[in-house]
């Protein structure tokens, strides 16, 4: 089993298509929708965690690309601006997935993008705008 967090971008022609349904039924993938939105330009954005057999996952990705859905890793949409971070640790206690952790000896923050589900709780809590989520 493999797991990936990706952001799918749908062109206007595809926003009414049941793409997720096909990923689940035709490719036997587990799809966990983290976030979804349609922008004023009618571009669809879907943030998902997707898991399944390695081969199925690859076939699913090919299906998306052939359809014209742009796939990019979620990590690209999450930016920790370390130079703005003061390591106050305000974000650490509200992070639901422990993507943000505190080294208790150094009292410094570390950020594991792979664990991040882009819930953005930290964005509103950070007084220094040290985390940007572009989704």
């Amino acid at each position: 089993m493999q797991k990936r967090k990706v952001v799918l971008t749908f062109p206007p022609s595809l926003i009414d298509q049941p793409v997720t349904y096909h990923l689940i039924r035709d490719y036997d993938l587990v799809v966990n929708i983290l976030k979804a939105k349609i922008s004023p330009k009618e571009e669809g954005r879907l943030m998902i965690e997707i898991s399944g057999k390695r081969e199925s996952l690859q076939r699913g990705m090919n299906y998306l690309q052939e359809l014209g859905v742009e796939v990019q890793p979620l990590a690209q949409d999450i930016i920790w601006l370390e130079e703005r971070c003061t390591h106050c640790t305000a974000c650490a206690s509200i992070c639901p997935t422990k993507a943000i952790a505190v080294d208790r000896k150094e009292m410094k923050i570390s950020f594991d993008k792979e664990k991040c589900i882009a819930c953005e709780l930290c964005v509103s809590v950070c007084p220094y705008k040290a985390i940007e989520i572009l989704f």
Binding site: T86, H87, C88, T89, A90, C91, A92, S93, I94, V102, R104, E106, M107, K108, S124, V125, P127, Y128, K129
Partner: protein
């Protein structure tokens, strides 16, 4: 044997002073006996880096031709106080642009306010100044719009009427709704807790009765050199204390001042507190001269011995009662988990311990290299014997 500040300064000038941080002294005192440590160590450096609302800058922009006596002024769209002489301006850290939506769109973001202008100013960025006046015979001009830059100002002085509060409350939320406070976003039903002190590194917790800190004490301020100029507002020495003298609630405070031109945006940071407002995060480090054993004993204080009161910010704080739910030590707070009413509550800081540590180290290096000499305070901050009583406002209705 007691030492004087003059003697310590002689050692600093010769590069022979023994300087350690308020964290390092804890282990040193454990290894040696207090008496020996007091003889050997000359200075203990402290540090703190947290949001400090009562902060601001005083600038003099120089006279325009023709002259203007500024009545209303904006810096990058943020209003400042011009109710001084013609071109003296005081910008407070919490000031907001007139068109900021505040909490009309709840919770407000407060992306840019006075603290952010101060960070931009100290970073050497151009600041847009817009001023108006009513015009007089001697100051005829009524409107001024210009870019200004810190390098061209006559004076740029950081003047913070209340910083470095000695101990602070731990904020929690007993209600069933999320609340947004100056102590951060608090989740319902004791969902989380925020604290705001550097604990064992915090300046006033290392000199709890203000036996060395007073008017004229030279300090690290915002990355440059500043001075303690008075006690801070709401300075309140007469609070419950532990046997060692550590205040169990917020107590002493410092008013500080220094040349902004020497400071750095790394240690003066614009701050946005969701649902509350704009602010400035300030870096302060105070050197404590080890004049005798007693002073050393105070600096040895550790997080296990410093207790903060836990207060409900949903009802108790806003109503003004600030009833204490329980006390927790900074050692517990720094584990990231405290227990309140039998419930495990995740705790996090608003004040950066890592940066406080860095400040204490920088100040230590300055002193060791002979760059920074200690000063003899003109007089010490008022202590428990000064007869200060802390007053809440007594409202007298106006008929």
């Amino acid at each position: 044997m007691a030492k004087t500040i003059a003697e310590i300064n002689e050692k600093i000038k010769k590069g022979k002073a023994v300087v350690v941080t308020a964290e390092e002294i804890i282990d040193i005192a454990k290894e040696k006996d207090i008496k020996k440590a007091a003889q050997e160590v000359d200075v203990v450096t402290t540090g703190t880096f947290g949001p400090m609302c009562s902060s601001g800058v005083l600038i003099n922009i120089g006279h325009s031709k023709p002259r203007i006596k500024i009545e209303k002024v904006y810096l990058n769209g943020v209003p400042a106080c011009a109710d001084l002489a013609a071109v003296d301006i005081y910008l407070g850290a919490t000031a907001l642009p007139d068109d900021d939506p505040r909490n009309k769109i709840y919770p407000g973001r407060f992306n840019y306010g006075g603290g952010h202008v101060i960070e931009d100013l100290v970073a050497g960025k151009d600041i847009k100044l817009q001023a108006t006046a009513y015009g007089t015979d001697c100051y005829p001009r009524k409107k001024l719009e210009t870019w200004i830059n810190i390098r061209d100002l006559n004076e740029a002085i950081l003047f913070n009427p209340r910083n470095a509060t000695q101990n602070y409350e731990v904020a929690v939320n007993l209600s069933d709704k999320v609340i947004y406070t100056y102590m951060g976003m608090l989740k319902p039903n004791l969902g989380n807790a925020y604290y705001c002190s550097a604990g064992q590194l915090s300046p006033l917790l290392n000199d709890p009765y203000y036996k060395t800190i007073g008017i004229g004490t030279r300090i690290f301020l915002g990355g440059g050199v500043g001075y303690v100029v008075w006690n801070g507002t709401q300075h309140n020495p007469n609070v419950p204390r532990t046997e060692e003298g550590i205040p169990k609630v917020a107590s002493g405070t410092l008013a500080v001042m220094g040349d902004l031109k020497q400071m750095s945006p790394e240690w003066l940071r614009g701050t946005s507190i969701t649902g509350y407002g704009a602010d400035l995060t300030v870096g302060i480090g105070v050197p404590i001269p080890i004049l005798n054993e007693e002073i050393l004993r105070y600096t040895v204080v550790s997080d296990e011995e410093i207790y903060a009161p836990v207060v409900d910010y949903s009802k108790s704080y806003p109503s003004g009662s600030s009833e204490v739910l329980c006390e927790v030590s900074y050692a517990e707070l720094k584990t990231g988990m405290i227990t309140v009413r039998g419930k495990k509550v995740p705790a996090a800081g608003l004040s950066s311990y890592a940066k406080a540590r860095e400040i204490a180290q920088i100040l230590k290096e300055w002193i060791k290299r002979g760059k920074f000499l200690l000063t003899e305070p003109v007089f010490l901050l008022p202590s428990v014997d000064a007869g200060i009583t802390f007053k809440d406002l007594k409202e007298r209705p106006i008929e």
